[in-house]
């Protein structure tokens, strides 16, 4: 039983009178503990796929099962619950809330889980420690470097202990040195048994994953296991 099971997924956008068919029947599954890179040029549909996986968008056709739970016909409240429980997001532009400290940002998904305040703070600190930013807990995002921000974002994604981490171009806004540091962190998290999907268009980043899925014009053109390049070797 896979962590993610996708069958015959279709998605099209209505652009005025034209219909833009972005995903044309995607079939793939992800087993627990995998680290998958989704590659493709812009317009290949990789972001759309990630949005559907992240329940931020809905497919027109096809089925999506996440850890045995069919994701279908969700209203916003239900989708919010599932996102909170099942998924951790890592974005290209970090998307931290700029008036909240690093620790508060990490604690935010826990707040939506209605975890008590004290417990939340402890947990946030624990995850900040894991990404090596415990001393920065009280700092605002504006006081952090890009790499640090992304590490806070990763801590936030981890804090809710989701089943799957979804990373959308996690290194897109970073230089290569920090990119490798972030990838190193992602690899370590994966080593601990977490399932991670990384959307990227950078081949070197993709090579640091265990499996690469190539998307082109809305279909999977290649899906191969690769020998993982350890980011730690470059740091």
């Amino acid at each position: 039983m896979g962590m993610i099971e996708i069958k015959d997924l279709h998605k099209s956008y209505q652009m005025g009178s034209n219909s833009l068919h972005v995903l044309k029947g995607i079939n793939f599954s992800v087993a627990p503990g995998e680290l998958v890179a989704i590659m493709g040029s812009s317009g290949s549909g990789k972001s759309t796929l990630l949005n559907i996986l992240g329940m931020l968008d809905e497919a027109n056709e096809g089925s999506y099962v996440l850890d045995g739970v069919p994701i279908k016909n969700l209203n916003e409240t239900k989708a919010a619950q599932y996102r909170n429980k099942f998924l951790g997001f890592i974005f290209q532009s970090f998307n931290l809330i700029n008036y909240k400290s690093a620790a508060e940002n990490v604690a935010l998904p826990l707040y939506y889980q209605r975890m008590p305040r004290k417990e939340r703070q402890e947990k946030a600190l624990k995850y900040l420690e894991q990404v090596g930013l415990k001393e920065w807990a009280t700092h605002l995002p504006s006081e952090l470097s890009g790499g640090q921000k992304q590490r806070v974002a990763i801590a936030r994604a981890m804090a809710a202990e989701p089943k799957v981490l979804l990373a959308d171009e996690p290194t897109g806004a970073l230089d290569s040195k920090t990119s490798y540091e972030v990838m190193d962190l992602i690899q370590k998290i994966n080593d601990a048994g977490n399932t991670i999907l990384v959307v990227t268009h950078e081949p070197d980043i993709a090579d640091m994953c265990k499996r690469i899925v190539h998307l082109k014009d809305g279909v999977i053109v290649e899906d191969k296991k690769v020998k993982q390049v350890r980011a730690a070797d470059y740091v």
């Binding site: 919010a80 909170n84 707040y111």
Partner: protein
């Protein structure tokens, strides 16, 4: 709703842009301040005018005679006539619903008409029944007022005003029991009065009341009546029955029924109702203007909240990606709006109250002012203003909150 984190967040959001928050709050603050000041000013005017009316029985009219303006039953135009004590009896007998019918006589005060020892003065002298004190109230400061026995026995007694005492008596002399000479007739002083209400009017303190019967005898009025003060029972407006009284008087004095001028009258009730409706209109205007100003403040809050939502589109998107439910987002925006409205509204109420307090303080220092007295706002008004604030805060937050939950997380996250 009372979670510490939510409040922390509200404070955080509102303090992120102090200047904008203050400007927004000012709209609501100003609205509620204007509302309170307008209402207080209206109340002050109302109090002032009511004080001028004093404790006078407002369901009262005064009736006097004028010359006829129509020939009738062989009697000529321009004829003068007088009411008599028979008329009083007839009104009592034929008109139901009356409380007091007091015939009155008066001597004017154009030249000195009262002497006591070496002092003299010019005063209005009234011949009255005991009931007059309940129609045109005066406060007896010492002694007593006219009683029915005085009327029956036509006692030559007088109740004099404090102004008269000041004029005719040396400091420290006891007026009760002394005699004053009114147009050559001696009257024994049995009481001293003071009139409340017309503060500015010193003449009201310079009057002398004697029993109606004694007046008639002493000053040769026979059974004639100068004018009448007629008060109807509560719940029966004098305005409604005054035409019946006029008809009766016209019939008794052979006046053409359609002679509008022969019977002169002043209807206090009508006058008072007019003032009452003026008060009503003032309150309406105060509420109307105040609430309009408040609404413009509320629209300001709504506008700013919309901008805030727009600015926080991305943040809202992040929150929703992290699992915030639409309801939680909506609640957040609504609470921010209500909180801002209530805080600024409370501030407006407090400043308004201080302002009213200041005005009252100045009024107390400078003494009474015509037609204006102790402006106040009823607690009920303040409470309803608060309710209006909460409702308008919800209203102000509603549209922005709706637009906030319309934000699709995916679109929100795309905005860079």
């Amino acid at each position: 709703m009372f979670s510490r984190d939510r409040w922390k967040e509200i404070i955080e959001v509102l303090t992120t842009n102090w200047f904008r928050t203050l400007l927004t709050a000012f709209g609501v603050f100003w609205g509620i301040l204007i509302l309170i000041i307008l209402l207080a000013a209206g109340k002050g005017l109302e109090n002032g005018i009511r004080a001028d009316f004093g404790d006078i029985a407002t369901n009262t009219m005064f009736v006097w005679t004028r010359s006829t303006t129509k020939a009738y039953q062989g009697l000529p135009i321009g004829r003068r006539f007088s009411y008599t004590t028979d008329d009083v009896a007839a009104i009592w007998a034929e008109i139901p619903g009356l409380r007091f019918v007091s015939p009155r006589n008066q001597i004017g005060s154009s030249e000195p008409n009262v002497i006591r020892g070496v002092n003299k003065g010019a005063y209005n002298i009234y011949g009255d029944y005991p009931e007059i004190i309940r129609q045109d109230p005066l406060t007896i400061t010492s002694g007593r007022f006219i009683n029915p026995l005085d009327i029956q026995e036509s006692r030559k007694i007088a109740v004099i005003g404090q102004g008269v005492v000041q004029d005719l008596y040396e400091e420290g002399t006891e007026p009760i029991g002394s005699f004053v000479t009114i147009q050559g007739v001696n009257f024994k002083v049995v009481g001293v009065y003071k009139k409340e209400g017309n503060e500015g009017n010193q003449n009201a303190q310079k009057e002398i009341y004697v029993p109606f019967s004694s007046f008639s005898k002493a000053f040769n009025r026979g059974n004639r009546v100068g004018w009448m003060a007629i008060t109807a029972q509560d719940g029966m407006p004098i305005t409604a029955i005054k035409e019946d009284i006029f008809s009766l008087l016209k019939k008794k004095h052979k006046i053409a029924p359609d002679d509008k001028r022969a019977v002169g009258h002043f209807d206090l009730y009508e006058e008072f109702s007019r003032v009452e409706s003026l008060f009503g209109a003032m309150r309406f205007i105060a509420f109307f203007v105040g609430i309009l100003v408040l609404i413009s403040g509320v629209i300001g809050v709504s506008n700013i909240m919309l901008i805030v939502v727009k600015e926080r589109t991305k943040e809202i998107g992040i929150r929703r990606a992290l699992g915030a439910s639409p309801f939680s987002i909506k609640l957040q925006i609504l609470m921010e709006s209500v909180f801002l409205t209530i805080i600024s509204g409370m501030f407006g109420i407090v400043v308004g109250a201080l302002f009213i307090y200041g005005i009252n303080y100045v009024l107390d220092l400078s003494g009474p002012v015509d037609m204006f007295m102790s402006p106040t706002v009823h607690v009920g008004v303040v409470i309803s203003a608060l309710v209006i604030l909460i409702v308008s805060g919800l209203f102000a937050g509603f549209i922005p909150a709706r637009s906030a939950i319309k934000v699709k997380p995916i679109e929100a996250l795309r905005t860079e």
